[in-house]
């Protein structure tokens, strides 16, 4: 007894838990939902009256009653429909709109959550999956809150009223007419399941078909090189044939769905004619009742079908909200300092600049998404004084990029290991910290906006005049201004899929310009100019020394030319600093990694200068 009660209460609390998301958004628009449901109740109540009026009218004609009575029926019929029209307007405006608004809010809340989640979350979750959450899962929740709830409420009201009216008119006839009706929700439930499975099977095949076509187009060079056009065509044809087969399998259930429902209800009408016809003849019921019953039976089909639909809509919404809640539950592991600290003398203002002293103390680090906890940095300590340019050298995976990403807190460093002007990075207000740092990585990400908007990324809300001059100056400092002017629409040229595709080097320079536009005191270049040729790079780096906001620069690179002017060079190997010093100090250590690296670079530059000479020697000819 008590265990049953506890099971019930625990299943109730689990139900409460599972529906929490649905209830949140339903509650938010409770007024609209309330008005919507009220309109719905009115629509359904008014729906009972027309068949009754019809009955009275028919009976009145049959009894040859005075014509004035008929006119009254006609007028009230029109009046009822007039009212019902208003209510129909009401439930759409209130209920469906509330679900659109709830869908909008849920989509917005989900996006807001996504915007707040850190890099480590995105290391683990793929764009495709997140987009499917933002789309189909949000939509299935919305579908339930709107049409799902509506059909559910609608069919409940119907079932509470129409059979009552029928029973009051004639209990016997009501029994006969309603006999096949309860089969309908059962059938809907069964068929809905089959439709859902078959629909999924067809969708799966469709994905496979598109995936195959996509792969074929991506690998078209291989297909052509191996003269496999026909083989691929045959594969595609077979996938298409299977797709047809599954679609027809779906269609067999789907196309019989509506008609079958209709069939069951029509049974009621056959019964009505057979039995009702006799009852009218025997005087048990009037002809009017007989006619009213025909209308009622027609009206019972939809709510029964709707009940089945509502049930499956609810199931889907629950599954979707569980998936959405998984993301809502994610914590941002970039914690916001509860008691933010700023360096002494730093007064936050839009143009405030920090001194830029960077200190790393006994830092060991592994990426949060890496389950093996492999240390990419081992016990690293270093200091970079304001005004210094520090360079980081080492092979891919040696830890230099990881170190640099900890300063603007792309990944969280262990507390008390990374300091900017004496304050641990985790104690800084994160937006102020990031506004002090210009971070440019090797992997460039530009948005599908104009070049102008991309470079002015950090200048939101600036005076347009000032913004323009800053953007042009930044493009000039990054040695990309001339190339931008050469684009089809200059600075307003759109980038990305629907715009212009820049070369790798151009992208890197635009990305540098984007960072420079914010005039950050600390500039971090993580192999940021790898696709830019050596001469241009040297020019850019020289120019950076003169920039007005310059304080500290941290530069990671593979090229000696990039780092040799640095005030201090750190050589990384397997997460540790193995050599440190200036260029001239480091090349003295003949067996050191840096000096080998330097020799390699010298030979490379020798080759490159030979190529330049070659260019000049070869007369660059046009076509004959």
């Amino acid at each position: 007894m008590s265990s049953a009660a506890s099971t019930a209460s625990s299943s109730f609390s689990s139900l409460k838990e599972r529906t929490s998301l649905l209830r949140t958004y339903l509650y938010r628009y409770r007024k609209l939902v309330f008005f919507g449901l009220c309109s719905l109740v009115l629509v359904d109540l008014l729906e009972i009256l027309p068949p009754l009026l019809l009955k009275s009218a028919v009976d009145s004609v049959m009894a040859s009653e005075p014509y004035a009575k008929l006119i009254r029926f006609a007028l009230s019929y029109f009046f009822i429909m007039f009212l019902q029209g208003f209510c129909r307007w009401g439930w759409r405006i209130f209920l469906i709109r509330s679900s659109m608004l709830a869908g909008r809010d849920l989509r917005g809340d989900f996006a807001e959550k996504l915007f707040g989640l850190p890099a480590s979350f995105y290391d683990k979750n793929r764009v495709g999956e997140l987009m499917s959450l933002a789309n189909s899962d949000v939509e299935s929740v919305r579908q339930f809150l709107g049409p799902g709830l509506l059909t559910f409420a609608d069919s409940l009201f119907y079932m509470a009223t129409v059979p009552v009216a029928m029973y009051l008119l004639s209990p016997r006839l009501a029994f006969i007419a309603l006999l096949p009706i309860p089969l309908i929700p059962f059938l809907v439930w069964k068929l809905e399941g089959a439709i859902h499975d078959r629909y999924k099977a067809s969708q799966d095949q469709f994905s496979e078909l598109s995936a195959m076509a996509q792969e074929n187009l991506n690998g078209i060079r291989i297909v052509k090189a191996y003269a496999r056009e026909q083989t691929q065509y045959t594969r595609f044809r077979k996938l298409g044939e299977e797709y047809i087969r599954r679609n027809l399998r779906l269609s067999r259930v789907q196309s019989s769905f509506g008609p079958l429902m209709d069939f069951f209800a029509s049974f009621g009408i056959v019964g009505l004619i057979w039995f009702g016809g006799r009852y009218v003849g025997a005087g048990v019921v009037t002809l009017g009742t007989f006619v009213a019953f025909q209308r009622y039976i027609q009206k019972m089909i939809w709510p029964m079908v709707a009940l089945g639909f509502a049930a499956s809509s609810y199931q889907r919404a629950l599954a979707s909200s569980a998936r959405l809640k998984n993301v809502f539950r994610q914590n941002s592991n970039i914690s916001v300092a509860s008691d933010p600290v700023l360096p002494a003398g730093f007064v936050p203002s839009p143009r405030a600049r920090t001194a830029g002293r960077i200190e790393i103390r006994n830092l060991s680090f592994s990426f949060p998404a890496d389950e093996t906890n492999r240390l990419v940095l081992k016990n690293v300590s270093l200091t970079v004084e304001p005004g210094m340019r520090a360079a980081f050298v080492g092979r891919i995976g040696s830890g230099k990029s990881a170190l640099l990403s900890l300063i603007p807190r792309i990944y969280p460093a262990p507390a008390g290991t990374v300091f900017v002007d004496g304050v641990p990075v985790e104690a800084w207000p994160i937006d102020i910290l990031r506004s002090q740092i210009g971070f440019v990585s090797q992997e460039v990400f530009l948005f599908s906006e104009s070049v102008y908007e991309n470079i002015g990324f950090a200048l939101h809300g600036w005076d347009p005049k000032e913004k323009e001059s800053v953007i042009h100056a930044a493009a000039f400092s990054a040695s990309v201004a001339n190339e931008i002017r050469g684009l089809p629409r200059g600075f307003t040229t759109l980038l990305g899929e629907r715009g212009v595709n820049l070369s790798g080097g151009q992208k890197q320079r635009v990305s540098l310009a984007r960072a420079l536009a914010a005039a950050p005191p600390i500039l971090i270049l993580d192999d940021a100019l790898s696709a830019v040729d050596v001469k241009t790079e040297e020019g850019i780096l020289r120019g950076l020394r003169e920039r007005a906001s310059r304080n500290t620069e941290l530069v990671a690179a593979h090229r000696i030319s990039t780092v040799k002017e640095a005030d201090r060079i750190f050589v990384f190997e397997q997460g540790e600093i193995v050599e440190a010093g200036t260029h001239s100090e480091l090349i003295l250590k003949k067996s050191g990694i840096y000096s080998q690296f330097h020799e390699e670079q010298r030979l490379k530059e020798d080759l490159e200068s030979y190529m330049d000479a070659l260019d000049q020697k070869l007369e660059v000819r046009g076509a004959p």
Binding site: A57, M81, M100, R104, A111, L130, S210, I220, Q574, P624
Partner: protein, 613 residues
């Protein structure tokens, strides 16, 4: 109201215009190919509609001829007949849907195959300038929306129009006077239907465009989230998202509004119609004439009156459905226009040429003498990638090609495969201009291994045989696989993008793929750039065996791999700058010699440093 993210979508894709006559003609021509299903479906639509139209009439007849006269045997017959009518209606409803589904599916499969076959025959130059995504959209989304037009749209659209017309005829046949009175509301309804349908199309298009823009924006932000964070842009980007999200729900609600106004209008019209029928029809049945107009002097039975009301009530819902399906029809036609537009594209070979099965047996053996005669080539006008390039390779020769990125090495290979044609000069194989060879037979004689191995999803064996037979030359291939130490069973399914294979294994796989077609001419395009030295050694040994006596062209980044070549050619900006054996080139002290010394230094650093854990 314009949204701020419009540049995130191809606005053109959302416009559905009135279909042009030419497109309608093409659709009809294709429909004619599905005559059986179409005729069957049409007959069923007619039959079903006729049954639907007769049902209310029969109900009325039952009242007049059986119930009122208390004729029970007549009632039994009519009940039976009514049941038969229902069965007829239900079966033809199911049948017509299914028939049109078959029609749509078969039509779409044919169209998809036509598109796919076109894609297989497009020249590589077309692929260079067309995003794959757009081609896929034509093949999948556009065919889907066309198929929706044929299956769902056609039946409902024409079925409903037929029903409306049939009902009107019935109403007039039953009692034209009453019909005129009852239907005085109908023109109003039609007028508003057309107006609402226009608004609806607009609202739907707006909302689809906005959700696409919103999705494109969100997807891009997810990819670039790091940048958004670093520049403290979260609030601004979220504000933009919210703005468009707002606009999206606004246009969704606009569509809801249209419905919200349309539905009551239908209710009012039908209410007014029924009320009028009750008033005037009732008067006719009672034999009174309240207005005294001669026009209304007519008799009507109670059964007819009930039939009349049934028709009238059933008449209004189809109007709404026709309005709904009009959008499906329009977007289907727009897709049709886009698809048929594809078939005007130029292809590199005819359908017959692409259709040659069993190429291996038919194509001639190539001895392997290759001549480049003053070849000039540019992808874009005047931007020369190859300038006056001439070179002769004798059969069985091993040639290394060296040069910086963009020197034109890979272009040479694309020209050999006839992915592009030289703009000036020509290429000869065994003394014959390569343009005289069929594209497919030529390509089939060339074995090519590239740095980026493109893997198809499927089994390893599928990736080797490329779905042609069951590992045709399996013994040679299997022997080669074993020799190279490839241990995975060929039945292994590959993960996404072959992530369960190492770089070396992928390279071996692409080698095995080439061995399968036992080519006469071998090309290696930086084939071992990503491979560890151990695999490289085994790879090299297997290569020596497989390519024995065949002409072999190797493009190499790492010079160690081409040291032993009979001839090494240095390309620079599309021109041949050095040519000779390894020894000779080293001695001449040019580009090759410098590149070689640099690479030695790089290897020294790599040997010195411990490997990355």
């Amino acid at each position: 109201m314009s949204s701020t993210l419009d540049h995130y979508v191809e606005v053109e894709d959302f416009k559905s215009k009135r279909p042009s006559i030419a497109v309608v003609a093409k659709v009809i021509r294709d429909l004619a190919g599905e005559r059986t299903a179409f005729v069957l479906g049409a007959i069923l639509v007619f039959g079903g509609t006729a049954a639907t139209l007769y049902e209310p009439r029969l109900f009325g007849r039952a009242i007049d001829q059986a119930i009122i006269p208390r004729d029970n045997s007549m009632l039994a017959r009519m009940t039976f007949f009514y049941f038969g009518l229902i069965v007829l209606r239900i079966t033809s409803m199911i049948g017509q849907q299914y028939a049109f589904e078959i029609l749509a599916q078969s039509l779409m499969q044919k169209l998809r195959l036509r598109i796919f076959s076109l894609y297989q025959r497009l020249p590589i130059a077309t692929y260079d300038r067309t995003p794959v995504g757009r081609l896929i959209t034509r093949l999948t989304n556009d065919t889907s929306s066309m198929s929706e037009m044929f299956s769902g749209g056609f039946v409902t659209f024409f079925g409903n129009i037929l029903f409306i017309l049939g009902s009107l005829i019935w109403l007039f046949a039953l009692n034209w006077r009453l019909a005129l009175i009852a239907l005085c509301v109908f023109p109003v309804l039609l007028y508003f239907s057309v107006r609402f349908s226009r608004k609806l199309i607009e609202a739907y298009r707006d909302s689809r465009m906005r959700i696409s823009a919103l999705n494109a924006f969100l997807a891009e932000n997810i990819l670039g989230m790091k940048v958004v964070h670093l520049f403290n842009r979260i609030p601004f980007h979220f504000a933009r998202f919210r703005e468009v999200n707002e606009a999206y729900s606004f246009s969704q609600i606009a569509a809801i509004r249209v419905y919200a106004y349309f539905q009551p209008l239908i209710t009012w019209c039908s209410g007014l119609g029924v009320a009028l029928v009750l008033a005037y029809g009732g008067a006719m049945a009672l034999g009174v004439n309240p207005t005294g107009a001669g026009f209304l002097r007519a008799k009507i039975t109670p059964g007819e009156l009930v039939t009349f009301i049934s028709f009238l009530l059933a008449l209004f819902q189809p109007v709404r459905e026709v309005v709904d399906k009009w959008t499906v029809f329009l977007s289907g036609m727009t897709s049709a226009e886009r698809i048929y537009g594809l078939f005007d594209w130029a292809t590199e070979m005819s359908e017959d040429e692409a259709d040659l099965e069993n190429l291996g047996g038919q194509s001639p053996t190539i001895l392997g003498r290759i001549e480049f005669e003053n070849v000039w080539f540019a992808y874009e006008a005047e931007n020369w990638v190859l300038r006056d390039f001439s070179l002769v390779l004798e059969p069985g020769m091993r040639v290394g090609i060296v040069g910086h990125t963009g020197a034109g090495k890979t272009t040479l290979i694309s020209l050999l495969l006839r992915f592009y044609e030289p703009i000036r000069g020509r290429i000869l194989i065994d003394g014959r201009d390569i343009r005289e060879y069929g594209k497919r037979e030529l390509r089939n004689r060339i074995g090519i291994i590239q740095q980026d191995v493109f893997l198809f999803s499927g089994k390893i064996s599928d990736n080797i045989s490329l779905w042609r037979g069951d590992l045709r030359g399996s013994e040679t291939t299997r022997a080669a696989l074993t020799r190279m130490g490839f241990m995975k069973p060929v039945e292994t399914e590959l993960d996404e993008r072959g992530s369960n294979l190492s770089m070396g294994e992928r390279q071996i796989l692409s080698f095995a793929r080439a061995i399968e077609k036992s080519p006469d001419l071998w090309i290696l395009d930086e084939a071992t750039a990503n491979v560890d030295s151990d695999t490289e050694t085994r790879f090299g040994r297997a290569l020596d065996i497989e390519t024995k006596g065949k002409t072999l062209v190797m493009i190499a980044h790492r010079l160690a791999t081409i040291r032993k070549s009979d001839l090494i050619v240095v390309l620079h900006k599309g021109q041949l700058v050095e040519k000779g054996t390894h020894g000779a080139l080293l001695r001449s002290g040019g580009y090759y010699a410098r590149l070689y010394r640099y690479q030695e230094a790089v290897e020294a650093v790599e040997k010195n440093a411990p490997p990355i854990a």
